[in-house]
């Protein structure tokens, strides 16, 4: 039987009632509320012919064994940012559970391929600043040495917080053992942006996750008295930064899906009576095409040097983090497109600006695709995050169809070997 979208919505509401307060969802990874959410999730598995375990990185695996060991993995995350929304992550886990339940019923507990549902640990990275924690351990891209000494706002170290949840930081690499037999990965998520809403579409196929170039850029000028320093002799670090803040926009706008953001500006000494001597900024640029991203970065760098020179300043770049663009599987993109068209009549293909656990799985070479459900007003990481109930129903229905198409594909003789 097809997935019961009413049960998914009712479960989402139940989870919200259990784990949100007046400010929003409080399922911060490695916190008691998160553990409570996971315990509640396990109670929802009662009566299903499944096995459940946590892996070495704290990922929660629910396995419905099929005729073949080849596994279709459905995944998302139950953790939230502090004061988060009711759908970010939870929608994918609870829709995945419903799909698994439906397949179990249709195949009398033994589908042609194995179906696994994963609730990744600490997707958000909201407490220790390291997102995609569990999925990167699974993918083997995790760097324990760097992360173990990270601390939260209260000074608690990551390794101690993990130990309290039964995870040994020295062993999280063992999560890669879960990779064997993984044949495909599907993830349903809310868009967290305004694209589908602006197009009045409930659902979209995600082409991949954009590459990200994230840099700290500091302009060094000369602090000077705002009253005694004539305009013509100033070396104003803020002026150079302001030019760059404006210039990154035409650089991004040359490309249809590219974005560029200056998210933080700090001025030093930062007082009303002094010309800014030092201005620290951050730049975040994203595109699905690695060549486009590289050219944007080069243009921004050249522009920053030009502006520094114009203002008698020096500019200094320091990379914060970067990741290459990750494209999803073309076959699964077609299946997803079909499934959406069957349910909603019309589909749309779009890249994801935000990263997702699916990116970690895809970069290992596992055929992967994501489906997006429309977000209202593009809001997320916020208690106002919402999606129309009709759109949620269509999302569950289309995701169920995508899973069934994928099961058929994986179990067809031509795809074996």
């Amino acid at each position: 039987m097809p997935a019961d979208s009413f049960r998914v919505i009712s479960n989402l509401q139940e989870l919200r009632n259990l784990t949100a307060d007046d400010l929003g969802a409080q399922r911060l990874a490695w916190s008691p509320m998160w553990l409570k959410a996971r315990e509640w999730f396990q109670s929802k598995l009662d009566g299903l012919p499944i096995e459940h375990h946590y892996d070495a990185a704290g990922n929660s695996w629910t396995t419905l064994r099929g005729e073949s060991d080849r596994a279709l993995v459905l995944g998302s995350h139950l953790d939230s940012v502090p004061n988060g929304g009711w759908l970010d992550g939870s929608l994918g886990v609870l829709a995945g559970l419903e799909v698994l339940r439906g397949l179990s019923e249709d195949f009398q507990g033994k589908p042609p391929v194995t179906i696994r549902l994963v609730d990744w640990a600490d997707e958000e990275g909201a407490r220790f600043g390291r997102s995609l924690f569990g999925s990167s351990a699974f993918a083997g891209t995790h760097t324990v040495a760097v992360d173990r000494v990270r601390t939260d706002r209260d000074g608690v170290r990551l390794e101690d917080a993990l130990r309290n949840c039964g995870v040994d930081v020295d062993r999280i690499g063992d999560a890669s053992l879960e990779r064997s037999h993984t044949a495909a990965y599907l993830e349903l998520h809310i868009e967290q942006g305004p694209v589908l809403e602006n197009m009045r579409l409930p659902l979209g196929v995600v082409l991949g996750t954009k590459g990200v170039e994230r840099h700290a850029i500091t302009f060094h000028g000369q602090e000077a008295h705002s009253g005694s320093t004539p305009m013509g002799v100033r070396r104003d670090a803020l002026a150079a930064a302001a030019k760059l803040a404006l210039e990154i926009r035409p650089i991004a706008r040359k490309h249809p899906d590219a974005v560029a953001t200056m998210g933080s500006v700090k001025t030093f000494p930062g007082i009303v009576t002094a010309v800014v001597g030092r201005c620290e900024t951050t730049l975040d640029m994203r595109d699905l095409d690695a060549k486009v991203l590289a050219s944007m970065l080069a243009e921004a760098r050249a522009a920053s040097e030009r502006f520094a020179s114009e203002e008698g300043c020096k500019v200094e770049w320091s990379k914060i983090w970067s990741i290459e663009p990750i494209s999803f599987d073309s076959r699964l993109i077609e299946f997803c497109d079909e499934a959406i068209r069957e349910v909603a009549g019309v589909s749309h293909r779009l890249p994801s600006g935000p990263l997702h656990d699916a990116a970690e799985v895809a970069r290992m070479g596992v055929p992967t695709v994501m489906m997006f459900a429309q977000s209202l007003a593009g809001l997320s990481h916020n208690k106002a995050e919402d999606t129309k109930i009709d759109d949620l129903k269509m999302a569950v229905e289309a995701f169920d169809r995508l899973a069934r198409k994928t099961v058929n594909w994986l179990s067809a003789p031509k795809t074996e070997g």
Copy 2:
């Protein structure tokens, strides 16, 4: 006999040795080091036929009684910012002392008019954020009610710090009693800017202090995810602020002496992954002409509204503080110009961007002028603050000539009544 410029420089060095550490001068008003500087100053009065007292606001008055009660007042301040320079304020007090000494000797202790030297209390306002403390009490523009509860970084209240220095905050208005018979006011100060150095001139005549318009300007846009929000739908508060940061420059440059500064920019949420939802900035604009200043303010306000509208933001202005331009006395400007030309060959007239105690005296209607000595690299409020020794000597010599010209003017029969 003319003022002994060597003694002034030697006194400045002695004061520095007594009250500076490796980080610079530490004569913060109402601190033990400031009291020590004032005690040292009093020791320099030994043998002079003068009277000395502190007024109700803590201003230090040294009076050489003349044939007439009409008084020429010479003034500046011994207090410094933390980690300050050796010349800011001290030069004016110690040059004034030398001028007073020379006049006393020349007139056998009885010059034609009374000569008074004032060391104003707390010119800098570095501890409690209220500059021109003593001179505004003298001028009657002080607002005790607002200031008494101000606290320093350690939470000490202004009124308690004053009491420790023998000043009762409820009585500081009595400093206005010192105003009677004040006929003219002269102040020598370092420029604290680069204008004279760029013109290769040792000395300048100050035309007045610029008016100041100081405002907090906040742009309200929409916080959004840097990855999922397309460029075309953003309401980026930083973009609006960046446009204003650049636009205030051509607005100021239309006028030869005007300045406009955005000294502080704060971004909220201020993280690398979010479009700026709120951007708080400060604007400081100055000019000697009230009409020019008003037109600059109107242009900046209109520009901010245009930029807010272009970026889908709202803009909000809140006045921090303002003061009207204060022009010095035309007769004293001429005397100062003459004195400088006699000593240095060439003079230059310029407005002061920074405020000075002289502005408080001038706004009461007392004929006032200031003389500036060149600052190296425009530096001040910094231990690197410096002036060439030759320029300091010329400054003392020219200031002495200015004082004598003023004494002659005040004592000439035609100026009586």
